[in-house]
Point group: C2
Chain length 332, copies 2
DNA sequence: CTGAAAGCGCTTACAG
DNA sequence: CTGAAAGCGCTTACAG
């Protein structure tokens, strides 16, 4: 079945395709009601669907944005992605997702793809050493905003973040207030800025109470596996720990599994705290106490910011920071 | 910064853009090595990125496929999506995701979008009454394959499914074999064919053992909330139940929460069984026994099938069915 | 109030 | 071995 084009409508309506284009795009102030209706009706009747490649080629706008993230399968990123998609589509934009698995090669392939598809902008939820991707975008003058993760050396770019340091400090304050003193900390991937920020928050807060001990810091990588491994180490090396602060919820969930398996009671024997407040925190038993990032709002803000940039609006703040909040549940 | 085009390369190389096109697309049997290299080098030097809108407009191929699903935030669908993306990209295709939230309006908007973007094909992971979407695709002759969920009246279309009835029967057999007799069943959304299939499997198996009792069937909707609500009802109405078979894992997880909260021990007091085998089954404590669908393989197969159709390959089977398998963990 | 024409950046027969 | 030309389906000044 041949696709119906503007020319088909034009012919049947006895007008030129320029006219059809105008009315279909609502630039129809100067078109008579008669032809307007004729065209509109024909378009409906023939089930006309515009060819957005052709449109994009001539306007240089595609009304689509790209979003680059490590893995859509990770609940944190699927939430962010969902938020972005929702607000994009309410502004008439649609979204292309790109899973990089934190591999630079994949990331760059995707950036090329996005550029070749003439996306109007891109949102980065990766972090790490994305410099060359970022440069490629700049080189092709496609605007971008970073979300959740700083990229080293690109602090001046548009970005939406949460206050990681402050968040962790809030958590430690709370743990301290309920009597914990020996608080272990499980770090995230070393090459991500947010990991450092969270670690800094831990150090500051622990210092404040004069209970800092660098032996209480363990390596992790933001995955469940990472949480499991770190927790095994914690069990091996140290007996008397009050509480464990995991740099994100996924690691906390993995960690809790190990602790429960080893017969420890949460929160009686160890208190547990995560970071992010992904949805499953509430489903787990016991429910996870955590530092909540406003994930949905951050995604939404990132998308709106990007669209404002695309529309050449004046941006008052190039970086926006969201406050975190302490969500007390059953693990503390 | 102006984007570099084939014309730029052509000029600098002193050839026509036709020639540039040929070598960049590897249709270069008849091009001299000299000009070939000149062009290749210039392309690299100038960071040339082809404009895929222009390409798509002239070839009518975009090497992108659409995938329509209810919600990427749901672990089952994010896994399928991931599988599809992986195999798509290894065949040089990329993917546009569309979250419908099971709303027909959204679904149709997205289908229009996909058509307007000239996708080469689409994969449907929705189900329910998608007839009009499917018709729109047919009307525009874009091929599609259904995955995981039948669409009523479209059993003859390309599709990748798992054997739902058989799967549930396997589960009941197992529960029976370990001594359960009073086995409750929580259904999925009534308007999905897979719900019926799973229910049928339950009935058949229970009948076989002469332990079928329709009062043991409860309504659900495949969400965590649904599992919670159904389970509250189960607690209210009946005391002596051995086991609960939830039509999917999400409901089982919600249900377990309610049971644990009410002081029941799993599996000592009630045995629990899910369906799907999503990743978090293994993280939960106790780990969920379930009927596994080969989620990743199904996504992969759906994608490969679609690509074969796009490439006009001969397809031996229009429908492919995957076997499920019983995964015994700690809830039974 | 509407149309003719050029252009967006590619590809693809066809000609030489 | 390579180029000229037409075409993909739109949009957008410009002219009348």
């Amino acid at each position: 079945m041949k696709k119906v084009t503007m020319l088909d409508i034009a012919k049947q309506a006895g007008v030129s395709k320029a006219t059809v284009s105008m009315v279909l795009n609502k630039r129809d102030e100067s078109i008579s009601d008669e032809t307007k209706n004729k065209i509109l009706n024909l378009a409906k009747e023939l089930n006309y669907i515009p060819n957005s490649l052709a449109r994009g080629l001539s306007t240089k706008k595609t009304r689509t944005i790209g979003i680059v993230l490590p893995d859509i399968t990770n609940p944190f990123f699927s939430s962010i992605a969902r938020a972005i998609e929702d607000s994009a589509s309410s502004s008439g934009y649609n979204v292309i997702f790109c899973n990089t698995d934190n591999e630079m090669g994949k990331e760059q392939e995707y950036i090329k793809l996005l550029i070749s598809k003439l996306v109007d902008g891109v949102i980065f939820a990766t972090g790490g050493e994305s410099c060359s991707s970022v440069n490629m975008l700049k080189h092709n003058s496609v605007p971008f905003v970073l979300v959740d993760r700083y990229i080293d050396g690109y602090e001046k770019e548009y970005g939406v973040y949460s206050l990681n340091q402050e968040g962790v400090m809030k958590g430690i304050d709370y743990l301290h207030s309920i009597g914990s003193r020996k608080i272990a900390f499980v770090k995230g991937n070393e090459n991500l800025q947010i990991s450092n920020e969270r670690l800094k928050g831990y150090k500051k807060a622990m210092d404040k109470y004069c209970i800092y001990d660098k032996n209480l810091i363990f390596s992790g990588d933001f995955t469940i596996e990472g949480g499991i491994n770190a927790t095994k180490q914690i069990l091996d090396h140290i007996g008397n720990i009050d509480a464990i602060f995991y740099s994100n919820d996924m690691m906390a969930l993995g960690g809790m599994k190990v602790l429960l398996r080893n017969g420890l009671k949460i929160p009686e024997d160890v208190k547990i705290m995560g970071f992010d407040n992904i949805d499953i925190c509430e489903i787990f038993e016991p429910e996870l106490t955590t530092i909540a990032q406003p994930i949905y709002d951050m995604g939404k803000e990132a998308c709106n910011l990007l669209i404002d940039i695309i529309d050449n609006k004046d941006i008052e703040k190039k970086q926006v920071y969201f406050k975190t909040s302490l969500v007390i549940r059953k693990t503390t």
